[in-house]
Symmetry: C2
Subunit: 377 residues, 2 copies
């Protein structure tokens, strides 16, 4: 991620204050945040996530601290700008023990005996922090961070909308090209170019799953050459100004077999119904159930082998998840995918995916390309 | 990472067997490996590292198991090919508990009470596995994996050599272009193109640090426009066939100031001396000391704010680290960077970085571009 995720320093200062409130209200000593989208959300820049410890410490009270390797101090000061005045920057040299530096800032002192670690913190840091902070217990920071990040602001929605529009532009372009005779890999590389041309800062994925491979939801594009009659699932996305895009359309080379067209019609109905069901207060699982019921009733239940959707924001996958196990109500500001799929092993598959934002008036689709089967050459 | 890191199935089967030996000899119940370069090293493909648990379990005895979300089973079977016959694939559905699935495969049963987690496993998985496997203790898998991966085979060295040659080609191209009048960001984007043009599968980083920014080792290229008299540190790399490149050269726009030329001469001497010191049996720290002594004696000791180098292979940074705290002897097959730097805050900085392989006859430099200061327009 580049500095594209940055907002004015006052926004990040406010996020740090809200993070401190979460720390206190969840009976935590501190949030410990290593480089990740949470780090970028709070500080507005993202250093490389590598083997040296960089760790933001957000206590319930008092000044946040940033423990980092000496060689990254110039980067941090440059990127933080005036925000640096509100953080104690604690640089460690190559032969220092950075875990001891964290321990000195996170001492229980009669307070809570728990500290929360960022969801994607590396195991080596988790285990070493656990030893350094013992008997303080490490717990997951995910719930605290989701409380901060899940409901998007108007500015965040606007960035998601721009990312979705860029992905749509790439999708329109690739489905306007001849696909038959080209390998999946070649089409995937072309989509990455198109994502960048359309204004993404990074092209993060470009699944091209053709013929029998279209039954593999996370297929890696390979040497298979696309041919007449193939179903082709195109699942593409990247990042623009720090926010993610993610959209899927299904194409077929030439006229579809009647059986495939029938399968697709069921899928389309399920995806549209799930989108239409979005509203504040509706349980996340009910969106999943809406799509699943239609697919089940048409006899394809065993072929829909994943949840209906995932939240999206600075990460491609984040809260809220639209899955049977999630009974939480949707809230205005939630942004998520709706992407049912039907996969018939060894034969073919299809998926339709849009990003939506939950508004007071229902779901707003950020992707606006047509949801019919794309007939391509 | 694409499937470019794959070797024949027999190589991966052998790696799995050697991993099982490490498991046993280190008194571990199992190695637990989530998507990462370790996962790709063992299995030859890399699924997305996301919020759903995918975990390879390598016990000391018996069949390895792969716990993965149902929707990734087709990808795994497709990518594993015949290797899939030697692994129990345990797919979980969206509403299953994948941690319970791991527990069923990793039960102490009178054996050791420790399991090792992959170094970059996400905290959320570490904490949930810790709870699921309790009272089995989690420890770091890093040492076991380094024992497998640190010394490169001839084929791995050949891939590192090809990656280095591709990075050299990009470096020659960019230093042949006019840099003044262009922003750091623009030059960085151009380098990413050149890395891909030269045969990299991904362009992972392209640091362009100009003028005073050259004193920031991990600077993020920004809007600053390069101008006459600037020092420009170019630190670039990507991946080719699953192996990483990483090289740094320092340029200056027009004739260098005498003071900068003097600084650079010291740096060059230090980098050359460190490269010349490489041989099997030499302590890693002694390579660091060799470079540091020359820089210290010239009065720049406080300006060399990082270690001398890091191992490289499927990851840009891995074992062995050339740092004061590492007394281990180098071994034939070790591959690592040698990259001293001198940084004068607010003014300028310089770094020279080559990748070397330790051979029986000493260090072989895989980067072959000139190490003089590059005078550019």
């Amino acid at each position: 991620m580049s500095s594209g995720s940055r907002f004015p320093a006052s926004v990040h200062a406010d996020r740090l204050r809200r993070a401190a409130v979460e720390t206190g209200s969840r009976d935590l000593l501190a949030l410990l945040v290593t480089p990740s989208s949470d780090y970028a959300y709070l500080l507005g820049y993202l250093p490389p996530a590598m083997e040296r410890l960089t760790c933001l410490i957000v206590p319930a009270e008092g000044t946040p601290a940033l423990v980092l390797p000496r060689l990254e101090e110039p980067l941090a000061r440059h990127e933080l700008g005036e925000l640096a005045d509100q953080i104690d920057i604690l640089a460690w040299d190559e032969t220092d023990d950075p875990f001891a530096a964290v321990r000195r800032r996170v001492s229980p002192d009669g307070g809570p005996m728990r500290a929360a670690v960022q969801d994607q913190m590396f195991a080596r840091f988790v285990l070493r922090l656990g030893a350094a902070l013992d008997p303080v217990q490490l717990v997951e920071a995910g719930p605290a961070m989701a409380a901060l990040r899940r409901r998007k602001t108007a500015e965040e929605v606007s960035r998601l909308r721009a990312a979705a529009a860029a992905a749509d532009q790439a999708m329109i372009a690739i489905t306007g090209e001849r696909l038959s005779g080209r390998s999946e890999e070649e089409v995937s590389r072309r989509i990455r170019e198109l994502l960048l041309d359309a204004g993404h800062d990074t092209a993060d994925f470009a699944i091209v799953a053709s013929g029998p491979n279209s039954a593999s939801p996370h297929h890696h594009p390979g040497e298979r050459v696309i041919e007449a009659g193939d179903a082709v699932v195109l699942d593409i996305g990247g990042r623009r100004d720090g926010y993610a895009s993610d959209t899927t359309r299904t194409a077929v080379v030439g006229e579809p077999a009647a059986e495939f067209a029938a399968l697709y019609a069921v899928l389309r109905e399920a995806q549209v119904a799930a989108c239409d069901a979005v509203a504040p207060g509706v349980a996340a699982r009910d969106i999943d159930r809406t799509a699943r019921r239609i697919i089940d009733e048409a006899g394809y239940g065993d072929c829909f082998i994943h949840r209906t959707g995932h939240g999206i924001g600075m990460e491609t996958h984040e809260e809220p998840y639209l899955v049977e196990s999630n009974a939480e109500p949707l809230q205005a500001g939630d942004a998520f995918s709706i992407e049912p799929g039907i996969y018939v092993s060894g034969r073919w598959g299809a998926r339709i995916e849009d990003i939506l934002v939950c508004t007071q008036d229902g779901g707003e689709r950020l992707n606006t390309t047509g949801r019919d089967l794309y007939v391509v050459s």
